[in-house]
């Protein structure tokens, strides 16, 4: 059967992998190419790179990193951050990305999702949604790295993105991100049940049970984590063995 995917996430700025708490307080985690190779060796199913560079001046750095990684790592690579037009999607694919993640620009210009998926195929268009709980069973979409409220309902927004041609949803709980208390499982479950396309749960993983819960309780098709892998607490292999013991199908 199809395996649930484990996806280490590398937030990149100024050529380094960093990790913050609830989108702030950045901590250095190392060289992106070295880290990517390490996770590949550990059996990561995919890698996600998010370019969190604030200014557009340093955009070229991420292209260089992706080119280097794609020469050496033969698993799917997703890249996001600063994607504003179809040309940005094309440039990232040409650098070696297999999928491109669109977040703020999908809200500003939903047609970008339709145009990019029509041009390059749904399989390479991931829509990233940063959601925050606003009432019991209600989540709102935020953009600009979590700073700006949109008034959009996260579940309805995810459905709209599916309709426009997204191939996958990367769903991050802003409430949980960096807290190491586990995914927002109710949010994950609400979105995955509403969609036909795969959902990647993100934000809040602090231990291996959190990853298992994302699949078993949240119903996620894939789970994404950063700091538990970056700082050596667990390897991807350990995460998979742990999940396999709980009866979750993984690629070992």
């Amino acid at each position: 059967m199809l395996a649930k995917r484990i996806i280490p996430c590398l937030d990149v700025t100024a050529g380094r992998v960093v990790k913050g708490v609830s989108f702030v307080e950045l901590r250095d985690a190392g060289d992106p190419v070295e880290i990517a190779k390490r996770y590949d060796d550990q059996g990561a199913d995919e890698l996600t790179f998010l370019d969190i560079t604030a200014s557009s001046d340093d955009r070229s750095i991420i292209f260089h990193i992706i080119e280097k990684v794609a020469e050496q790592v033969f698993i799917p690579l997703t890249v996001g951050g600063g994607v504003r037009e179809v040309q940005d999607v094309r440039n990232l694919l040409n650098a070696g990305a297999d999928k491109v993640s669109i977040n703020t620009s999908a809200v500003v210009n939903p047609q970008l999702v339709a145009d990019a998926s029509a041009r390059y195929g749904s399989q390479c268009i991931v829509v990233a949604i940063d959601a925050k709980q606003v009432a019991p069973g209600k989540w709102e979409v935020f953009t600009h790295g979590g700073r700006k409220a949109t008034g959009l309902d996260a579940v309805e927004w995810a459905k709209k993105m599916q309709t426009l041609g997204a191939g996958e949803i990367l769903l991050t709980s802003m409430d949980q991100d960096g807290q190491k208390k586990g995914f927002d499982l109710a949010l994950t479950r609400a979105v995955t049940d509403a969609l036909e396309i795969p959902v990647i749960a993100s934000g809040g993983v602090g231990n291996l049970q959190h990853l298992a819960d994302g699949v078993k309780i949240g119903g996620a098709d894939a789970v994404l984590a950063a700091s538990i892998f970056h700082f050596g607490e667990y390897t991807v292999q350990q995460a998979k063995e742990y999940m396999a013991k709980q009866g979750i199908e993984v690629r070992l």
């Binding site: 590949d40 794609a70 033969f74 694919l93 390059y120 195929g121 399989q123 036909e196 098709d221």
Partner: protein, 212 residues
């Protein structure tokens, strides 16, 4: 002398395929091209593909690649189809009601919606991720474990009319054909270029394959 042509018909990104082929054939002259003459001159041809069937077939015909592919195949040169490069070899795709190349008998059908796994979770379409491949004893499987996992991303799957074409199946949740072959033609639904060690092994086997 072009050793390996990776066929470019404007449907998505071929860099991953090129990188992976280079990895297993470091000394080879590998060219990504849509030029019929260059493809026809190559010793081996890799035929990838992404996107929707109607767009793929339109581009293949507009660039006269249907004739080039038929020529390469009839000359007995090793030919590897990947993903859409498997589907378009069949007669007809349900996606956009599209007539395809018809080199293999049978249709291409969408996965049914509303499927669930054994735990009752919804099975998503596209079928995306690493699935187990149950394969036969074709030379391209040499050194690859039975039930090895490969990376898939697709919403449609082929249904060969001739069981003799089938070289591998996978399950989602029902068995579906994920590799088909005849003579010098071999094609897979998954992405060997993104399937880590098992995928590179299959590409290496293709580079070393000398079909009779």
């Amino acid at each position: 002398m072009v050793d390996i042509a990776v066929v470019d018909y404007g449907m998505g990104n071929l860099r991953s395929v090129q990188q992976a082929v280079r990895k297993v054939a470091p000394g080879a002259n590998i060219i990504v091209t849509g030029e019929p003459d260059v493809i026809a001159s190559a010793a081996r041809v890799v035929f990838p593909g992404q996107g929707a069937a109607p767009d793929c077939m339109r581009e293949i015909r507009a660039r006269h690649l249907d004739r080039v592919i038929a020529g390469v195949v009839s000359e007995g040169k090793p030919f590897l189809g990947i993903c859409m490069g498997l589907q378009v070899l069949f007669e007809h795709s349900e996606e956009g009601d599209t007539p395809c190349l018809g080199m293999f008998q049978g249709p291409v059908k969408r996965f049914a919606s509303g499927l669930h796994d054994a735990q009752g979770n919804k099975l998503k379409v596209p079928h995306m991720g690493w699935n187990q491949v149950h394969h036969g004893d074709h030379p391209l499987w040499r050194g690859i474990d039975q039930d090895a996992r490969f990376y898939f991303v697709h919403s449609y799957h082929v249904q060969p009319g001739d069981a003799g074409l089938v070289q591998a199946t996978s399950d989602y949740p029902q068995p579906f054909v994920c590799a088909a072959a005849r003579d010098n033609l071999f094609a897979v639904q998954f992405h060997p270029e993104k399937s880590a060690a098992a995928g590179l092994k299959l590409l290496q086997n293709f580079i070393n394959w000398n079909p009779l």
